[in-house]
């Protein structure tokens, strides 16, 4: 089985978000970048397939040279090779078009992407990729098993879960549950050394037009001060929630 894991290079979850250039660009100054958490759950599941069922795992990112550190981390925790499509990831459709080319030319059976990235939160790349390729697609996937060309995928639904039977080739929009938090791997020295020997292929983008553009960013208005209520006066809390906030 040939697995492709799509990796977004996103600000660490603890990052403070600021903008620059007249609020038109994300300010990367002082920001630590990581593998998008939803992608990391998928990558870790892919490594399980590699170790338990004999699969190859390629990671891919559409982005600039700064994303290579994130791809190297994916190699350090066990991916076999990496691909970077050398283009700014301007919108979800543009990224999906680039990934579709990589999937077609590489002949991957299973493509795993996070269901959304923690920066732009578009939640569209895996679905669009499946749509462009005409592959089957399971979103919000919390469990995945593959047996030959058949797969069983569990997806989260509002208030429960659903088990789906699917065939490869397949695109997965993954999230926590594919593996547990404790299964996530931290690169060790040997892994980091080995990652230096692994191939990181640079591809030029295919021509594709972005259909959307983020033109401006804004931070939420600062919060008005909290109203503190004494623990001995919970009637006041009920009163405020009813008469002032009007939520009960």
């Amino acid at each position: 089985m040939k697995i492709l894991v799509c990796i977004s290079h996103v600000p660490d979850t603890t990052s403070k978000i600021n903008f620059t250039n007249g609020d038109s660009e994300f300010d990367t100054n002082g920001v630590q970048f990581v593998i998008n958490p939803n992608d990391e759950f998928g990558l870790t599941r892919a490594l399980w397939f590699k170790e338990q069922q004999g699969a190859s795992v390629t990671v891919v990112n559409v982005g600039g040279p700064d994303a290579e550190a994130t791809l190297r981390k994916a190699l350090a925790i066990g991916a076999d090779e990496a691909i970077r499509v050398n283009a700014a990831p301007t919108d979800g459709y543009f990224v999906a078009k680039q990934l579709a080319e990589v999937v077609k030319s590489g002949g991957y059976d299973l493509v795993i992407a996070g269901k959304e990235s923690l920066d732009y939160n578009g939640g569209m790349v895996p679905g669009m990729l499946a749509g462009i390729l005409g592959y089957d697609f399971v979103n919000s996937c919390i469990k995945l098993e593959v047996n030959g060309s058949e797969a069983k995928a569990v997806r989260e639904i509002d208030g429960g879960k659903e088990t789906l039977g699917v065939k490869l080739p397949l695109v997965i929009g993954g999230q926590k549950g594919l593996v547990e938090e404790k299964d996530l791997r931290i690169p060790n020295m040997r892994g980091i050394m080995m990652a230096r020997q692994k191939a990181l292929t640079l591809l030029e983008p295919v021509s594709a037009e972005a259909k959307t553009k983020a033109v401006k960013f804004e931070k939420p208005a600062p919060k008005s001060a909290v109203k503190m209520i004494s623990a001995d006066n919970l009637d006041e809390l009920v009163n405020l929630l009813h008469n002032e906030a009007k939520v009960i």
Partner: protein, 322 residues
């Protein structure tokens, strides 16, 4: 040309989000001098959609679509959009709608924006305000294609009633075997419990509750409020509560009217996930907990004393006001 909304139903019934979506569509339709068409699949009673501005319902009745199938539903919506000449196709932000929307966008060669939180800021160029950076910022996004697909965030637009009856038309999409390659083998749903996705009120607990055996305190309060229960990331990592209850940046987002956090200190990732909630109440023993900085109402004290008292007071209030 019309605006098409996908009015999702669950076991034949619409949820409030479908009516919010109709209200949102009607508002754009009124500004652009067009009408709203709703696509429904196996809904039992479509008439209520008219009360929220839907002019026409395309009503699909199909046994084949009785279990969820993203590809087949996306194909159905595409065919409805083509039939109606819809240039704007609207979705809610339920798990199912977010699954389908990107497939529809590709099929219609449309630009797609999710997490939209307000009416379009401008129609030409078409610009919407959306949540980004896990609710730590808003992004103003322009869509430059002729057809646009939007997913509207829960609770970001109210209900607007407009008294008119919708015309109802049966619609039979032409679906082929290729639409049904994904099979639903089993489905599990917690019965009777309010889900985080639907809840108007969410009551959430953190490590301050000291152990899973104390969760009944939170469940009692949730019961009195008709609320869903949720938890912080450490609580789910410790296995005290299932992952499906974890709210925050890497868990579920919460956009309820009221969010009550008990014994949660308020890590930046947690706050990002619940920031779209309208009113936040924080109950914590530590007066310096960072969560108080983003709360509307705060109570400093022992959760084990406060929770039972608050539950009683809410019950008394509900008894008086119902």
């Amino acid at each position: 040309m019309s605006i098409l909304i996908y009015a999702e139903s669950v076991e034949g019934k619409f949820k409030k989000t479908a009516f919010e979506l109709a209200s949102y569509g009607k508002k754009i339709a009124a500004e652009t001098g067009t009408t709203v068409t709703a696509l429904t699949i196996n809904a039992t009673d479509v008439a209520p959609l008219g009360q929220y501005g839907v002019d026409k319902v395309l009503n699909v009745k199909s046994d084949k679509l009785s279990s969820f199938n993203a590809k087949a539903i996306a194909d159905t919506i595409k065919q409805a959009a083509v039939k109606e000449g819809a240039k704007i196709v609207l979705f809610t932000s339920t798990t199912d709608s977010l699954y389908i929307a990107p497939l529809v966008a590709v099929a219609l060669e449309a630009g797609y924006a999710s997490n939209v939180v307000a009416l379009p800021e401008s129609l030409s160029p078409f610009r919407v305000k959306r949540n980004a950076f896990s609710n730590k910022a808003f992004s103003f996004t322009e869509i430059n294609t002729d057809t646009k697909v939007l997913a509207i965030g829960k609770n970001s637009f109210g209900l607007i009633e407009s008294a008119a009856a919708a015309t109802i038309e049966d619609f039979s999409p032409s679906l082929n075997d290729n639409d049904f390659t994904v099979r639903v083998e089993s489905s599990e749903k917690g019965s009777g419990k309010v889900t985080i996705a639907d809840a108007e009120v969410v009551v959430s607990g953190g490590r301050g509750l000291k152990g899973p055996e104390n969760w009944y305190l939170l469940e009692d309060l949730a019961g009195a409020l008709g609320a869903a229960t949720a938890c912080s990331k450490p609580v789910s990592d410790l296995g005290w509560r299932p992952h499906s209850e974890h709210v925050g940046q890497t868990g579920k987002p919460v956009a309820s009217n009221l969010y009550i956090a008990v014994g949660i200190s308020g890590a930046i990732q947690h706050i990002a996930g619940i920031n779209s909630s309208k009113v936040k109440v924080v109950i914590n023993a530590d007066a310096d907990a960072p969560f108080f900085k983003v709360a509307d109402y705060g109570v400093v004290g022992d959760a084990f004393e406060i929770l039972p008292k608050l539950t009683e007071k809410i019950k008394a209030f509900k008894a008086q006001n119902s």
